[in-house]
């Protein structure tokens, strides 16, 4: 039984959306079902590697209903099968369950998504910024954040020769 058929029979009410582009198998997952489906895929179908966890901001994107898409790329290291799962979250409080209990790789990936998009992951052991400085307040990969920032890059003391 293929992974797709197994998911359909296991979660008949979940409203999963299956699509395919070449060898790229994609599943749209409602956020409420995400943890059950990921747990099922890991424990029953041996998707034992989280290859990627990232997000997309769909603000002002044509035809989009939701603000953020969060993408999980899973790999079955026995069969080499890959699966792309996408779920959606919305303002004002975008939050998803952390998948850190399933894959330790989620630690820094979820911190990066939190840092760049402000999507928080409940149950994450250490949800801090990872790339930008701790005192940074904005979420720079959001589409409503200006490319040149809000003055963060110029907000430093100026040293003169007499200072040193």
């Amino acid at each position: 039984m293929s992974t797709e058929e197994a998911l359909k029979s296991q979660f008949p009410q979940a409203g999963l959306v299956f699509s395919q582009f070449r060898d790229n198998h994609r599943i749209g997952v409602p956020a409420a079902q995400l943890m059950d489906i990921l747990t099922f895929l890991k424990n029953v179908h041996h998707f034992d590697m989280l290859a990627e966890l990232t997000a997309v901001d769909y603000l002002e994107y044509e035809g989009s209903k939701d603000r953020f898409g969060v993408v999980y790329v899973l790999v079955n290291t026995q069969s080499g099968e890959r699966l792309v799962l996408k779920t959606h979250v919305n303002d004002p409080d975008p939050v998803l369950p952390s998948v850190y209990p399933l894959w330790k790789a989620a630690d820094w990936l979820e911190r990066e998504v939190f840092d760049m998009f402000g999507i928080s992951f409940s149950g994450h052991p250490d949800l801090r910024r990872i790339l930008s400085p701790d005192e940074f307040t904005a979420f720079p990969l959001r589409k409503d954040y200006p490319l040149k920032g809000r003055g963060e890059r110029h907000n430093f003391p100026v040293l003169t020769r007499s200072d040193g």
Binding site: S132, R150, H154, F156, L159, T160, R161, D163, G164
Partner: protein, 191 residues
């Protein structure tokens, strides 16, 4: 002592000039290399170009032992406090070369995370243009800096304490201020 008693191998000079001459010919660079300019900096120091010919080959990774900071590459806003701290840790007299387009102006990286020229926040003595500059260009810069050091230095470096005004452009230039104001107005309008 009359001049005719001085042997041929003795030169008359001032202490300031002698100190400056010694400093200029024994620069110890602090390589603050963050990007591809750092690769050119390494090439400059290695055998093909041989920075040792100009007495500046002793790269030290401890700022306490250096008197020339070479900022080679783009500086992210997370890196700038580190850069400033290293600059303050270097003993005087010290100089700074801003190497390459990114260190001088931010280069093509006109984004929220990249500082638009290190001269806004630390004093810079010499700019080396290029993206990245070739080793010849950096050596030309070091020779020009040696010239600058030889003219006007003092024995105990008192001239540095008098330079209390920043020499670089203002941290916020007019465009930036207008843009920040517009971004904030847009934000208010959205909410």
């Amino acid at each position: 002592m009359a001049m005719k008693d001085v042997p041929d191998n003795v030169f008359m000079t001032s202490l300031d000039a002698a100190a400056s001459w010694a400093r200029a010919n024994s620069l110890w660079p602090m390589p603050f290399a963050t990007a591809c300019c750092g690769i050119e900096l390494m090439a400059t120091a290695s055998s093909r170009f041989d920075l040792a010919r100009f007495g500046a080959e002793v790269m030290r990774f401890s700022p306490r032992q250096c008197d020339l900071m070479i900022v080679a590459g783009r500086v992210a806003m997370k890196m700038l406090p580190v850069l400033q701290r290293i600059w303050l840790q270097m003993p005087e007299p010290k100089w700074c070369i801003s190497m390459g387009a990114c260190a001088c102006t931010g280069g093509v990286f006109d984004t929220y995370a990249v500082v638009q020229g290190v001269d806004r926040f630390i004093p810079v003595d010499l700019y080396v243009p290029g993206c990245p500059p070739r080793p010849e260009q950096l050596m030309a810069g070091i020779i020009a800096l040696q010239d600058k050091i030889k003219h006007g230095g003092t024995l105990n470096g008192t001239e540095f304490g008098k330079r209390t005004q920043p020499t670089g452009p203002a941290p916020y230039d007019l465009d930036e201020l207008i843009r920040i104001r517009e971004a904030n107005e847009k934000l208010v309008a959205l909410n």
